[in-house]
Structures are given as C-alpha cells and as structure tokens.
C-alpha cells in the first residue's frame, strides 16, 4: 500500500515537473528586416513559476556562453553571419532555483548582397548621377550653358585687384576641417583660382590652414596655379602654412594675422563652425573686402551679416565652374539644377497630397489611448508596432500590462493629427481593442502639460 502510494506520488510529481518543464520554450527567429543579417529575435515562453532567465549562446564550438540575465521575455541579439548558433534559456524562480531549461533550434544568419531597405536611395542616386552625367555629356558637345551671375563670384577678381592696388596681402582660409570634407575640397579648388589671380596680379597670398593634409594639398594647388600662370618664381611653400587643429586656437591665429598684417582681401571658403563670426567680424573691423562661402548652413547667417559677399549653399560648390568656365563643370551645375527642379516638383506634389488627404485635421497632439487589448492582442501589438515604428518585441513588453482606467497612449511617430489618430483607433477597435482619443491640444491640457506626461507613462 505504502509502495503504491509512493509510486503514485512520484508519478504525480514527475507529471507536474514535466508539465512545468514542458511550458518553458525559447524560439529564435532571424529578423527579416535586418539586411545585414546577424539580427535574431528571441522569444521566451515562460512557466508559471519562472521569472528570471539566464541566456546562453553556443556557436559551432559547442561551448555555452552566458550573455544575459533578464526578466524580459523578448529581445534581439546580434550573432555572427554564416555561423550556426543555438540559444539556451535557464529559467529561475524568485529564489533563484532552476525551474526549467530549453533549447532553441540552430539558426544561421546571412547578409544580403543588396540592402533592400535602401532601394529608394539607390534609385535616387541613379537618377541624380544619371541626370548630372547626361548634362556633362551634353555640355561637351554644346559649350554654351547659361549660369546666372553670382555677385560673390564676380567680386573675386575685384578683391584681388584691390589688394594689389593697396599693396597688401590676400588672406585665404580654406575652412577648419580636413580633406575628408567635400567643403574643404571645394575650398581648395577655389584657392587654385584665387592663386592664379594673385600670380597674375603679383599680390601676396597668405593661406593659414588647420590641418596638415590640407596644407600639403593646398601647396600643390597653389604651386600648380602659379606655374600655370608662368610665375613659379613668385611661389613659396610657406604661403600655405599650418597653425593648429584646435578650432578656437586657429581662429585666434587667423585673427592675429588680420590685425597685424591687415590684408586688403579676405576669403573664407570652406567648412566653418562657431569661429566663423570671430574671423568675419575681425576682418570687417580692419576694413578688408570679405568674400565668404561655406556648406555649413548654421554659419551662413554670420557670414551674410559680417562679409561683403557670401556664397550660399550651392553657389559655393558651383564656384569652380564659374571661375574655371570648363564646359564639363558647367554641365554638372546644370545637371544639379535639373535635379533640384525635380526635387522641388516632388516636394510640391507631396505638400498638395498631404494637405488634401489629411483634411482639416492637420493639427498635432492627438493620441489613441488604449485601455484594453481585447481578445486578439497579437494583431493589436502588430498595429501598434507598425504605427509607432517600435519593434514588435518592445511593443509587447510596453503594452502587455495596461491599466484599464488610465490607459496608455500610442505615439504615431510625429504624425499625431486627429485624422491619423482616429484612423488608428478604428483599426485597433476592429481587432478587438478598447481605445479612446486623447486630445492634448485643449487649453487645460496645455496649461498642465504634466497631466499628459503622467498619462503617457502611467503604469510603466
């Protein structure tokens, strides 16, 4: 009798244990949107008692390496491409007693040969390059291309001439960044043209630089310009000289040159940052004619304020075509302009479509507030992941525990118009969720923005 009871107890215990062990599962799935392969989404199905999970991974060598201890049920992990990898989860309860162990299938990630997520950019690149190349080809055959006059570029020769007449030097600063910036290369191209003018007019040229490679490249440029003008005797390698890499120390050095040597013409052509106004104002204070050009949008206002002429944006990059008058260069400028026209047309069309289709509810500040997930949480999670651009696993984590009185808001990624919010609400309600519309535009909400803040993160 006792033996029978013992056997029954053992069978029951085994049954319970196997029940407990049977529930724990781990699955690993290759993330399909990761075009570079190597991203795996791992999902754990817990047991009744498990709360802490130790995760291990094993590559082909077979050795298990612990990489995480967590209470999360979902997350992502990067693994090496082309190597078969397996995951193991060891589940613990609150007393850190092992309550289960599970293995995933072996999984291998592979990088793709073309990143489909970047297909639209590839097409854009082909269009832009195609248009520019087409116009370069056309310009070779038909040399007459009209470019509108740019005051700053026409003033180059005037500035160098002024310096010659006054017997003072020309100061040229090709920016403060290195040769890896396209603006620096453009600055050096312009330097080549200015050097030709100074060689022609026999004006003194001073080019302080902030990077050693720019110094070497600048010297080559100036040397070639002087040789092409037939004045190699006027060239000196010390015309292009290095001061320091530090931004403000360089600005101080350039200011020192301006105040001591008082150049008659100052060219600031390249990539600048905050030191731009310091240099431009100092140049203004000594009465020099200043021509600036930069690809840094935030510095353009300072140059416009302090300099006599400023090349804004594309004008700076087009300078070489203006000054050189080479048909191929002119053709590339024309191609750029055509691309810009195409972009403007697309922008205009986009604005019209957005205005028409978002209707009168074009405001911002409306959020679907989800109160319960309903009977189909999987579909609801998918919708939330899609509209808020949050990975599905994170959505499951954030929205799994919702207080039905407070609810939880869904941020539709910067497009929180009433129209969009109502559209999302209808979609969620069709999938069984209970959702309200939260209106953050009302005055009382704006007065107390912290109400919204509390609501957004209530229960998290």
């Amino acid at each position: 009798m006792i033996a029978k009871r013992t056997v029954c107890m053992l069978i029951l215990l085994l049954g319970l244990t196997s029940f407990a062990f049977a529930d724990l599962a781990i699955s690993a799935k290759v993330e399909s949107s990761a075009q570079d392969g190597n991203k795996v989404n791992i999902v754990i199905t817990p047991t009744e008692t498990s709360s802490i999970y130790i995760l291990q991974t094993s590559a082909e060598s077979g050795e298990w390496i612990t990489f995480r201890e967590t209470r999360d049920l979902v997350f992502s992990r990067n693994i090496d491409n082309d190597i078969s990898t397996q995951f193991k989860v060891i589940a613990l309860d609150e007393n850190r007693t092992v309550v289960g162990e599970a293995l995933s299938e072996r999984i291998t990630t592979k990088a793709k040969w073309f990143n489909m997520n970047r297909l639209n950019r590839f097409i854009g690149l082909l269009i832009i390059c195609g248009v520019i190349l087409y116009y370069i080809g056309r310009a070779r055959k038909n040399k007459k291309i009209y470019l509108r006059p740019v005051a700053g570029l026409q003033a180059f020769e005037e500035a160098v001439g002024r310096a010659t007449e006054m017997g003072r030097s020309v100061l040229f600063v090709p920016g403060i960044m290195d040769l890896d910036q396209v603006e620096t290369i453009s600055g050096l191209i312009i330097l080549g043209h200015v050097a030709k003018m100074t060689a022609r007019y026999e004006a003194e040229l001073n080019v302080p630089v902030s990077r050693s490679l720019v110094m070497e490249s600048g010297r080559e440029t100036v040397r070639a310009s002087y040789i092409s003008e037939g004045r190699p005797d006027l060239f000196s390698a010390d015309m292009v000289h290095y001061y320091t890499d530090d931004q403000f120390a360089f600005a101080a050095a350039v200011d020192g040159i301006m105040l001591r040597e008082k150049p008659a013409a100052v060219f600031l052509q390249g990539k600048f940052y905050a030191e731009s106004l310091i240099m431009a104002e100092t140049g203004n204070s000594i009465g020099a004619i200043q021509i600036a050009g930069t690809g840094s949008p935030s510095q353009i206002p300072f140059f416009v304020t302090a300099c006599d002429y400023t090349l804004i944006g594309e004008e700076f990059f087009a300078a070489s075509a203006y000054l050189g008058d080479d048909p191929k260069l002119l053709g590339s400028i024309k191609g750029q302009d055509i691309v810009k026209a195409i972009l403007m047309a697309c922008l205009g069309l986009g604005v019209i479509l957005q205005t028409v289709f978002s209707g009168i509810y074009n405001s911002d500040g409306f959020y679907p507030k989800i109160k319960s997930l309903g009977e189909n949480p999987t579909a609801v999670y998918s919708i939330i992941a899609e509209v808020s651009s949050i990975p599905l696993e994170k959505v499951q984590y954030i929205y799994s525990n919702i207080d039905d009185k407070l609810g939880k808001n869904i941020d539709i990624q910067g497009k929180n118009s009433r129209f969009n919010a109502e559209k999302v609400i209808r979609k969620l309600e069709r999938n069984g969720a209970t959702v309200d519309l939260y209106d953050n535009t009302k005055l009382e909400n704006k007065d107390n923005k912290w109400d919204f803040f509390k609501n957004l993160f209530a229960g998290s």
């Binding site: 990088a111 970047r118 191209i189 403000f248 120390a249 020192g256 304020t305 050189g324 810009k340």
Partner: protein, 302 residues
Amino acid sequence: MFWKRTIPSIIVAAVGVIMLLSWFIPHAPFDELEIHATQWYDIIASFAMILGALNLLKLQGRKVVKRQKGWAYSLAAVLAFFMTLTFGFMVKGGFYPNLESLGDNPEAVYAYIAEATDNDLENTISLYGSPGENGEQIILHKAVVSKKAALKAIDELEALGATVSLGELQWGSHVQGQKTYYRWVFYTFFTPLSATMFALLAFFVASASYRAFKIRNAEATVLLVSGILIMLGRVPLGAYLTAWTQKISWLSWLHLPTIQEWLYQYPNAAGARAIMIGIGLGIVGTSLRVILGIEKSFMGGD
C-alpha cells in the same frame, strides 16, 4: 605626370565608386569597407600632423631667431608646443601615495591625510577607514603631484606607522588623470583660453547685429522682426513679459515663446531644409566631379 596625376585619379575614381556602392551592399567584405577606410584616413591624418607641427616650428622659430615683428608671440607658441609635448610624452606627474594599512597610530595618520588632502577629519575617516585589497589612493592637495612630492608624503606617513606604497597612473590614461602635468596645462591654459575665444562671440554678435540689422528693404525688415522675436522668445524674459497673454485664450498665440517656437520649427526649419538640400546636391555634384576626374585642381592638376 603619370605618377603625380594619372595614378591618383585612378585611385580616387576606383575608391570613390567602391565606397559608394559598399553602402548598399551589406555582405562581407563591403560591410566593413567604410569603417576601415575611415580609420585608414584617420591614421594617415594623425601621422601627417607631424608635417604640420614641423611647419609650425619652422615658421615660428624663424620669427624668433630673426627677431621679426611679434617674435615674442612666436616664442610663446614654440614654448607652449614643447611644454605640452613634454607633459604628454615624457613627464607625467600623477603619482600618489597608496595607503595599504593604517598601522598602530590611525589618528595621526587620519590627521596627516586630512591636512594633506585638504579634507575634514570626518570625511577622511570615512574614506580611508578601511583600505581595500589594492589600497586606497590618497589624492594630495596640490596642482600636480610629482614623484618627489609623493615619496615625501609616503615617508611622512610611514613615520606615523602607516604602510604606504607609491602609485602612479599609466601612460595614456595620465592625460586625463588627476594631478598630472597634462591635466594642469589643460585646465590652467587651454580651458580659459578656449572659453575666452568662444565668449568673444557674444560681443561680436552684438556688434554685428547693431551694424547689420537695418530696415533697408522688406526682406531686411522681416529678418529684423523675426530676429527680435526669437531673441526675446528664447530667454525667460520673453516668457515673463508675455505671461499675461496665456490667461486669455484668443491672445495666447502672442506668448513670445510660442511665437519663437513656431518661427523656429516652421519657417526657419523650412529655410534650413532648403539650404541643406542645395548643399547636399552641391556635395553630390562636387563628389561626382572628383570621382570622374573632371575636378583635379585640388590635387595640383588643371
């Protein structure tokens, strides 16, 4: 000409095309090309710094030797260069006494440490009460702690019965470590000088605004008005002066921070976007010209 012009052009074209295409190809070896290329460039630029440094020393040194105008400033530049070089590569400081045990006379040891570190006794006891396995670092109250100063402190602590060893920072981490010469140079010279140069902007902005913001035409007027609205709206004073408008719903739009935010986020962002698109196109055009070899003047070509 072949080595100076043709070979560089071929390299530029080949590398340019490969780097462009590698952005779209996540498969090896293209996936890491971008990283490697950027790192190679940084290594080359770092070594090229030697050229710049030699050029700086040559020109500034020449000014000093020939006593040209402003030679004193050049001397300062040369001395500062060598001083920083010395503190970066040759003399680091950053030594410290490492307290391993308090010995039989802990009160005296605490008192000494409190004075040497310019700390109060209570704090000193809590910090050094139980030295760990690797000892406890005593940070002496000096600008820089040389080996000699550290050894002197060690001798005095050992005379009080404590067990102390000499600790020093590793080369490399000494650059930002406590009580090193390099750190002293950074905080004593470099930091105030950099801050001063940046602070000049405030004054220059005022003088530039005074000179340039004139109502010459319609565009200048719009610039002026929007500049004033943003300048006042961006600071607490603007919110304070127009706080009363928040109490009347149909006047709430007159609240300066609201106007400022609208100007910032809509017309200003639109203008910035337009310029950035233009600059982006300009960069594409210039890069294409460089890759195709149409533009060679920056390499010394025509």
